[in-house]
Amino acid sequence: MANTSIVLQESRYHQIKAMLARLRLDSAARLVVLVDKDGQQIAVHGELGDLDTTSLASLAAGNVAATGGMAKLIGENEFPTLSHEGEKESIHISVIGRVLLLVVFDDRSSLGLVKLRSKQLSHELAKAFIEIEKESASAGANSALGFTEITDEEIDSLFSPA
């Protein structure tokens, strides 16, 4: 396959969660979500309530992909940030390499503060993801997972109820 899979080790996951927690606090945001550009949620921190973050992640990736397409049409590489301001709730998205940092905030914060804090964190996140990509590519992650020895029967068993 063209892209390397992302393999997130437990320690990295907690490192990223801690970064998101810090950003949420510093930006007085409701929720911070880290999403892969292909639409998969990597980590989330904040007031989730009954918010469907899986759908949010997929739509955010679609949104970034669509605006990225528009950017290319007008001669830009991509739009590095996107903001959507609602009456009460707003969203700010930063594109950081292959991941998207999505911040949901309300009137306890402001777009300026969220932008500033997101930008401050983006270098740290980018650095962490360079490491994660290296680990994903070299760790032989799937063999560590035990996937190389997985049997046809185990795969078939997933489909028995269907």
Binding site: M1, K37, D52, T54, L59, A66, N142, I155, L158
Partner: protein, 194 residues
């Protein structure tokens, strides 16, 4: 592009349903959604026009079960089939782990099938993928209609690499889960190889 999270013990894969306009991609997803237990699925998101044609994509997450202690989650997407949505259709293929090509079996849609399949190969190539190397299933949909081309003929025309060919009537669910199973199995087998 598979995403493996050791902390939440999850494997996430992306499967895309591709095919010409009105071939039944959304109907496949709708049937899967309607027939899956609530705890195994998330919301079905449809970004559609007012006339219910897919504008950007449909999306639903589906949990199939546990392998070696890891939850397997499949993110199912459809693309907009209409020719003029080319730009957005291509975007959905990014990071794909497996593709289902939904062919419309009706005689008058044969050209549209061929054009869409050609378009799929081209768009995959733009991302550095090769259809020949990707988990892939060919679904022959709408087998219940009177004006369908015989399966053997459709297969001869559309099959690319000996991929599983599954006859379906997505509206009633016939063949829908067989298709999903065939592609998901290939995706998991691919994980084993890598």
């Amino acid at each position: 592009m598979t995403f493996i999270n050791y902390a939440s013990r999850e494997i996430n894969c992306k499967i895309v349903y591709y095919g010409p306009g009105l071939c039944g991609k959304t109907t496949n997803l709708q049937y899967i959604y309607d027939s899956t237990a609530a705890q195994a699925k998330g919301k079905l998101i449809s970004l559609a026009t007012e006339a219910d044609r897919t504008l950007f994509f449909d999306f639903m997450p589906l949990e199939l079960g546990t392998v070696r202690g890891f939850k397997t989650r499949f993110h199912l997407y459809t693309v907009p089939g209409q020719v003029f949505y080319e730009a957005s259709r291509k975007l959905i293929l990014k990071g794909v782990d497996g593709v289902v090509f939904v062919a419309d079996s009706q005689e008058e849609r044969m050209d549209a099938n061929i054009e869409s399949l050609y378009n799929l190969e081209e768009n995959l190539r733009a991302y550095g993928y090769e259809l020949m190397k990707l988990p892939y299933v060919l679904q022959l949909n709408k087998r219940d209609l009177p004006n369908v081309i015989p399966s053997e003929e459709l297969t001869a025309e559309l099959q690319r690499k000996g991929e599983p060919v599954i006859e379906a009537v997505a509206a009633t669910g016939a063949g829908v889960f067989d298709t999903l199973k065939a592609v998901a199995k290939q995706v998991l087998t691919e994980l084993r190889k890598s």
